[in-house]
């Protein structure tokens, strides 16, 4: 069992130790590298988007492809020099993935393929996958998941999808986002023990927020549906149990509490606000405070218990 809560800086302790010169050195080094590379990648993006007539079709492709080759070349060189898990080579793979998107957009723009935008993003995600597998980086994986989420959103905008198992026509997108991100979360947590580079908690936390946000939104939008309430409760109980007993992560437990407060208050509001009596608002206020206080007390007790 791993305890991640302790690695979390509380962010509010009275007097934290000052960072060492080495900490500042690493910070400045990475900041300049990341912002500098990002500026160069966007410079190329704007140049392609400018679509300069004096610069032929072939030259456009040659430019993007050359940049792609140089970036991948830099990855090999940097990976050989510092090891593949160093920040610099991982950043190069991220840039190469960005350039891949530029290349696909240029292709679509030049040949007017008539493809929907979701197809562009789906192709992008597909072609980026090998690099993501190769890169062994949390950031790259999160970028990939974000890209795939975007693909799903665009796909549903185009089709109002009907192909999915649990996809109710009206709320299909929320269902699919829930299913996909939950799947990704389970995979991430499951492989965490096998893959040593899969460190840090931000990846699973973001995926959990995406999955939990979708299912909670569904529950809030369908307060009358008992089935949804049951599914939502199942998800909530399971998530809480896993992150309390198996993987200690207080962030996830806090998210569960917030989701529970929102759904419970929304249900109470539905019941008491219908007759338009303002004093029902006092009940809602007291219920919100009560639920918040109980959650806060419980979470802090767990926090202390894990710390000792």
């Amino acid at each position: 069992m791993t305890d991640y809560t302790l690695q979390d800086p509380a962010g509010t302790s009275a007097e934290p130790a000052m960072p060492s010169p080495r900490d500042w050195h690493v910070f400045i080094d990475r900041l300049l590298l990341a912002f500098g590379s990002l500026a160069l990648a966007f410079s190329l993006l704007f140049f392609i988007a400018y679509n300069w007539n004096g610069f032929g079709r072939l030259a456009h492709f040659a430019l993007v492809e050359a940049a792609l080759v140089v970036t991948v070349g830099l990855y090999w060189w940097l990976a050989g020099r510092h090891g593949a898990l160093h920040t610099a080579p991982r950043l190069m793979l991220l840039l190469a993935s960005l350039l891949l998107g530029v290349l696909l957009a240029l292709y679509g723009q030049t040949y007017q393929t008539g493809a929907d935008s979701w197809q562009l993003f789906a192709t992008w995600a597909g072609l980026m996958l090998p690099w993501t597998l190769l890169g062994r980086s949390n950031v790259l994986w999160l970028a990939w998941f974000a890209l795939f989420n975007l693909t799903l959103v665009l796909y549903f905008q185009a089709f109002d999808g009907v192909f999915w198992v649990l996809a109710d026509a009206e709320y299909g997108l929320l269902w699919v986002l829930f299913e996909f991100n939950l799947g990704a979360l389970v995979l991430w947590e499951g492989l965490r023990g096998e893959l040593r580079w899969l460190t840090g908690r931000w990846g699973p936390r973001i995926l959990a927020v995406a999955a939990g946000g979708s299912i909670t939104a569904l529950a809030l939008l369908n307060l009358e549906s008992l089935l949804l309430l049951l599914i939502w409760s199942g998800w909530l109980g399971l998530t809480f149990g896993v992150y309390y007993w198996c993987i200690r992560d207080l962030f996830m437990l806090t998210g569960c509490c917030l989701a529970a407060i929102m759904v419970i208050i929304a249900n109470i509001a539905r019941l008491v606000l219908s007759d338009g009596d303002p004093s029902a608002l006092v009940l809602l206020a007291v219920a919100t405070i009560g639920l918040g206080a109980v959650s806060g007390r419980m979470l802090r007790r767990i926090h202390r218990q894990w710390q000792s």
Partner: protein, 346 residues
Amino acid sequence: MTASLATSRSDDSPWYIKLMLGISGWFASLFLFGFLGLGFLELLQNILASLVTGLVLVGIAWAILRSHPNDFLEHLALAISLAGQALVIWSIFRASNAPHTVVPWLVTAVFQLVLIRIMPDFLHRVFSTLVASYALGLTLMLGGLVSVSQGLFILLTGWVWLKQSAYPQHGQLMRAAGFGLALNLISMSSVTVGLQELGTVMADAIPASAAAGFSWFTPWLSKSLAALASLAVVAMMLIHYQQPLTHKPALLALGGALFVAAVAFVAPGLNAGLIVLLMGVHARSRVMAGLGLIALLYFMSRYYYFLGETLLFKSASLLVLGLLMLLGRWLFLRWLPRTGEGGAHG
């Protein structure tokens, strides 16, 4: 204030628990205020009655917070205080009868400053700092000093974060004020940038009545003061880290800050982002550092989004910027290898 009062039980909990408590407290106060507004309409009509009720509510909240309350009472106090403050501020504006003047905003700012000082609660202090700095910013704007505000808030934010260790007896107050000021700095810079965009995009289209409020806004002055303030904060930081200002690490740090300040003349807001980021790293707060990083990226993208130049110009300027940053990194690693003594900031 005694040390035991300066820290409450929620101080040692992670930021996301505070965020959850803040969200539920805020909703509860909305419900309470809705109840007061709907249930006692005549209360809102009478200025004196609403002022007194508001102050009594704030007083009750203060008394609860002082008495080491349990969790339920602590959050009840927060919600009561927020609803009470809404009533007080409502009365201040009703009494002044002129919302577009300095006085009501200044009174609001002073009221919130008193609350920051007396309310022994972290969340309450963050919230009051945020409201106080918004009110102060609007006071400056309506008083014709809007150009001063960004620089002033950069200085204030830097000072509060760097002076945390100097006032250990006010640890909670300083940290809460630091968070509130950082949130204010980013949101206020965003508004200032908006004013500048409005100024350039619709210079002729703004109606005279609305333009009167902005007539004191001088972009170059605002940007120069923000640049000076951000350099001053970096210098303060170097002194804090006991780096002689004439030595290499300090000169590099000031050079870096000068570079950002120069870029901020075309893309305003970057100074604010930089200071929040630096303070986040300094205080080892990932939330602050993340906020600063997001602000830097946001102000940069906003500049390019609103830039009335061709994409070719945007592309060339980013190329130069990217190369300068990578060159800067190369020089930095050459002049100050990691094993070397001393640290640099900026």
